[in-house]
Symmetry: C2
Subunit: 250 residues, 2 copies
């Protein structure tokens, strides 16, 4: 049909994701948890009936999966492939896009500090974790892939991080994922997921209600320092010090 031979499918997906309301819904779901239609309507800042139409389209296109439960309908991303696609778009948006002014918001700051990216950690915390593991020779990352070293595997086992091979072979179970806020890679893939899960289990980090943001707990402050040597602002919820110290308060 068209000279490149490829179907119009990209245009369909693009059109779906091209509406701000739908894009916001998808972004809200990138955290990996299922949300109700009402919650997604709120996320997208539209009324319930408008959201309903959007969700129907996204579901029909196979981007979302839906499950009815009582009088609620829970929506989630249809597959990890969709999450990966969204990540890819976010990366391009962050890297290519003009460094546009974004009104600094508390929520944005919280996400930049630390967040989940589908099933692994991103933001300053995620990048710091990756940096620490690279510096210690536990993992090696490149543009095209990543792998855990032998010493890295031992390190992960010691921390009780699940490194059992899942259908894929040993070692190539880790991949770099470019961080849209830090513009540097963090660790995704099976290892990234296991790492994040273990941090939650240890009580080092906690999800922020209604958000993908995560905060480091007091226990996490010492844990990340002890095990990974991470200190300072990578663990802080807010990056910037107060801009002007109010020395002469009125």
């Amino acid at each position: 049909m068209n000279p490149t031979g490829s179907p119009f499918a990209i245009a369909e997906i693009g059109a779906l994701l091209g509406d701000p309301a739908r894009a916001n819904m998808m972004l809200a779901l990138i955290a990996g948890r299922a949300l109700t239609a009402g919650e997604l309507a709120w996320c997208a800042r539209v009324t319930a009936q408008t959201a309903s139409g959007h969700l129907a389209k996204l579901t029909a296109a196979g981007l979302l999966a839906v499950q009815s439960q009582g009088r609620h309908r829970y929506y989630r991303l249809a597959s990890p492939l969709v999450a990966q696609m969204l990540e890819g778009m976010q990366v391009v948006a962050a890297v290519q896009g003009p460094p546009r002014y974004r009104p600094k918001s508390r929520i944005d700051d919280a996400l930049r500090a630390g967040r989940t990216c589908y099933d692994h950690l991103a933001g300053r915390l995620g990048v710091a974790l990756a940096d620490a593991l690279i510096a210690r020779g536990c993992v090696v990352l490149s543009n095209d892939g990543g792998e855990a070293t032998e010493s890295g595997m031992a390190f992960f086992r010691r921390l009780a991080i699940d490194t059992a091979p899942r259908k894929g072979r040993r070692r190539c179970f880790c991949r770099p994922c470019l961080d849209w806020s830090e513009r540097r890679p963090h660790i995704a893939g099976q290892l990234g997921a296991a790492l994040a899960e273990r941090c939650f289990d240890l009580g080092w980090i906690q999800r922020v209600r209604d958000s993908r943001a995560v905060v480091v707990t007091t226990k996490g402050q010492s844990g990340f320092k002890r095990e990974f040597g991470i200190t300072g602002e990578a663990l802080m919820p807010e990056a910037d010090p107060p801009p002007v110290p109010l020395k002469t308060a009125v």
Copy 2:
């Protein structure tokens, strides 16, 4: 601003890619070569003035890069990240989408047989190559990454495939890339690019004019069989035998 904290950037990219004309332009450029505005207009099946508007938008958004040369303007994808994003969208489109009826076309068949995917090989040929390398223990692929084995590195050196490490570290220079037509992984990343380049240099494959499709040459037929053990329909430009042999031609 929005509750997920992420900017509206995904919506902007989606809206750009959501127009069939623009999507076709991007797909035409995924082959990696630069095309003129006129060629892209033809690909998108729109007039020159319409194409001009689209190209201006794509360039302003940082998805395309443009270079003037005489009275031509050459457009290409702004970065490999953009190509990777498009691949990701194609995969989702192919995998999630309903198995819609696509009018079988010669062009489509040619692309399914073999094509370049930005800088590496895809289609039946690309997948067969990946399968062969996996079967011979040259590479290992999983969902999250891939690596070349020691014996694989020796194999590649013997074929004069460039395996010199580029800024990334040794070995993790290969990644799986899900094939939209075969729905199975082929080899991308530095190794995938080097592999494809070597096949072109050896005269095993040739680009089809005005297309991402590649065809296996006679030399390639024997070469792929000798070095990779690939035979049969993976090397054929057309998958299907003629449906009904015209035994009683008029």
